[in-house]
Symmetry: C2
């Protein structure tokens, strides 16, 4: 556990360096920063593949299933240790360095390729990355299909087959609902959302919203970046960010989304802290919490019944706009090409498109050079419209270029998990929406903390869902939630 | 050199962690951060005291004066390496840890003691720190008086005797000038400076001022903190900060001060970068550059002839205030108790007071418990007034509590060096003030870069002054500058 704690110290420094990259790091500081972070990564690698770590791994590994642990946290902490030693000893450091270099260069090229809407420019890096990720997966587990290894890296315990089954369920229920609502919402006037305000006022509003919901600023701080995100730097140290380009309402919603990640991240209990299991289960479980806080809670009618009068007092742009006009515009369903601009109803289909492309590639049915064409064709089938160029289509996300291959499915899976958690929470607390409308979030947040957040990484996503809901993963609760919200 | 580069990578991570401490780190993140940074420090310590480093040190040390180096940068870089190995091998890690812990706790207590103006509360930590610093100095150099070791840590090559001689010169010239100007300035109306503005406008103004003078935002970024400072995180990565509590003019001047540190920090030439000598000579040389940019340049009448019309356009608070009224208020000499609020003329005496107390302590003539009394008495002698409590007196600076003992003299020494550089620069560029008044700073900044900044840590402060001015350290040029500015 001492080794894992020291690994965490170095990871914390690397996390801070990563966070700083998007904030205060000046452009000419990047080269040195790249070398400095590679050095820290090397120090951590040397420790986790050193003689001491190997000796301990060999002692612990055969006994992981025995009844010799203080508690389940200790077992989980040591399992993590064994897994890390196993992975780091089979992954050649040269492969890791090559991967990091291709990602760093590829991301810079991506910015330019996006600007020019030029997929050909990005193609060599994307090909290289898919190839490198394949090699990484084979090193980690030569006995398992590559795509299975990659998705299970993100969502341990959830198979590709399960994901496919859930996505089929979801699509079946979603298609008619989406058609119906999108055509009905066509006439809704969105212009009422088209206003801005002095940045200090937007900041104060976003801060108020997340603090009111329950984000604790003694365990996290907020900042501004181009692309909103949440960084976990230490067990009680998260950084949530937003962006003010789309006005105060969307800025607050973005920060609320990140606060979901943030609260999950910093709420691990003492045992999870002690055994290095803090921060929450990444992948779909983490996405479920940010989307729960942003969408299920923060985009509900009850939430805005509570918040709207205050937003109106703060922002001149909302004067004279009735609650009904505001909330219809705010909740408008409108099919488009961008995942990040998608409404709550059509959103889930965007990651599915990407998941299917990844799967076809690793099944050997598709080459990277054909991604753009297949993307556009799939998009037409799913949404009835085609991106007019690569910037609107294949290049819109930085994920693949950042080496996040086999990740996209977790957004949609996170939505499904959120639907299941909502039904479980409503069963236990029928007063849920009434509390939201009164601005009382204490019981709602406590529920998430008690049932999910406190456990850190003790359970995986599948286990957690079963613990909370008593049921297996399913798309039906999320479909019921969407129908309930959007059909009326 | 590879070892030193790897030391620099870890130092850069520690620097970033230190910078973050004053910025985004949330309170509950501090404990983990403390352990994480102690771990990184330990990793660096293990490397620099490891077998490989010792072997290289033993090979290089006897040959440092030989003619076997590629150039002077290589020699200086290897001298730094030898010095670092020597120091780290004689300094027990327990002593370093104890020092760090006493500093961390002491700083927290200091905040409280300052609030309560209670020297007794701070006393045990201060006693402990003076004692620990003494032990550090004895470890580093048992053959030299402790105070000499501490001051030479800050200003290598400048002896305590030299400092005393220079301070005596300065005080002799300063006393009559200060009396004369302070009594004349008593009636000057400062209230014209007493205005504020929206923060975005203050930020934009401060940014404009430093960028106009020459600060390059591709090598540095700006932020806001309680106490303005400059952090060097990498060779081309500095962070300058300011604070907006005292309105836009002082916010811009603080940022300008830090930009002097910043430009010096990031302007090392290729050889200095290659041999790990970037960042500039700390102590009085660095202080001289920040004070040169803030005071000699930025508080000159010429500078405000250039800047004032723009400040007036930006800030309503200055409408209708004539240049003469503004500049007299801005340059008012007013004797007070606080170093950080002192005017340019009386400032230099504040560090001298602290230097004398330190010297008396290490000469064995004074105990820490008597510091407050001696401080107040010396203050009365120097300025004719007595601090009304410890918050106004002995507790006003965090330096001693932060382990910076033997540092204060460098502020005043920095002023003297600035005076010498000004005379040298004026001799070469008689158009200096005319350029400033036209807002042309290119030649002025190039001079500093060519003659001082580019060399990084190749020379020490004394050597650099001689190189630039052809003369030894002296208080006379600074006195001539002050007389010229304030007597009229």
């Amino acid at each position: 556990m001492e080794i894992m704690m020291e690994q965490a110290y170095v990871q914390s420094a690397l996390g801070l360096m990563g966070w700083d990259l998007w904030g205060a790091l000046p452009p000419e500081g990047r080269a040195f920063r790249g070398r400095a972070s590679a050095h820290l990564a090397k120090l951590a690698h040397e420790q986790i593949t050193g003689a001491e770590a190997l000796r301990l791994r060999d002692q612990i590994k055969p006994r992981l299933e025995e009844d010799c642990f203080e508690n389940e946290y200790e077992r989980a902490g040591l399992r993590r240790f064994v897994k890390k030693v196993d992975e780091q000893t089979v992954l050649p450091i040269e492969l890791q360095n090559e991967l990091r270099e291709v990602i760093q260069t590829g991301q810079m090229v991506w910015r330019e390729a996006l600007k020019r809407a030029d997929f050909q420019m990005q193609l060599p890096y994307m090909e290289r990355l898919f190839e490198l990720e394949k090699r990484v997966a084979i090193c980690k587990n030569p006995d398992q299909p590559v795509f299975e290894t990659l998705t299970q890296e993100v969502d341990e315990g959830i198979s590709v087959e399960t994901i496919q089954r859930l996505f089929a369920q979801l699509q079946e229920g979603l298609a008619p609902l989406l058609r119906q609502v999108a055509s009905r919402d066509e006439g809704v006037d969105e212009s009422v959302l088209d206003f801005t305000a002095p940045k200090a006022d937007m900041e104060a509003f976003a801060r108020y919203v997340v603090e009111r919901v329950g984000f604790d600023f003694s365990k996290g701080s907020m900042g501004e970046v181009l692309h909103p995100m949440c960084y976990g730097i230490g067990p009680k140290d998260v950084r949530i960010t937003t962006n003010y380009a789309k006005g105060p309402i969307e800025a607050a919603m973005s920060l609320l989304h990140e606060s979901g990640h943030g609260m999950y991240n910093y709420s691990s209990n003492e045992q999870a802290l002690r055994y290095g299991l803090w921060g929450g289960v990444h992948g779909s479980m983490h996405e479920s919490q940010s989307r729960y806080i942003e969408n299920i809670l923060g985009r509900s009618e009850a939430f805005w019944r509570f918040l709207y009068p205050q937003a109106q007092r703060r922002f001149d742009g909302l004067r004279g706009v009735s609650f009904e006009r505001f909330y219809r515009a705010f909740s408008k369903v409108k099919i488009g090409v961008k995942r990040l601009e998608a409404d709550e109803l059509s959103y889930s289909l965007h990651p599915i498109l990407r998941f299917e492309i990844e799967k076809a590639y690793f099944d050997g049915q598709l080459q990277v050079k054909d991604f753009e064409e297949v993307w556009n064709e799939k998009h037409r089938q799913l949404f009835g419209l085609t991106p007019k160029n690569a910037a609107e289509g294949i290049l819109q996300d930085i994920h693949w270029t950042s080496g996040h291959i086999g990740y996209f499915h977790s957004y949609t899976l996170g939505n499904l998990i959120g639907g299941q958690i909502l039904e479980a929470q409503l069963a236990q607390n029928p007063d849920f929406y009434a509390q939201v409308e009164r601005g009382e979030f204490g019981e709602i947040i406590e529920y998430l903390k008690d049932n999910i957040w406190q456990y850190g990484q003790l359970y995986n996503a599948g286990q957690l869902v079963e613990r909370v809901t008593g049921k297996e993963l399913s798309a039906q609760p999320f479909l019921r939630y969407l129908t309930n919200k959007f059909a009326r």
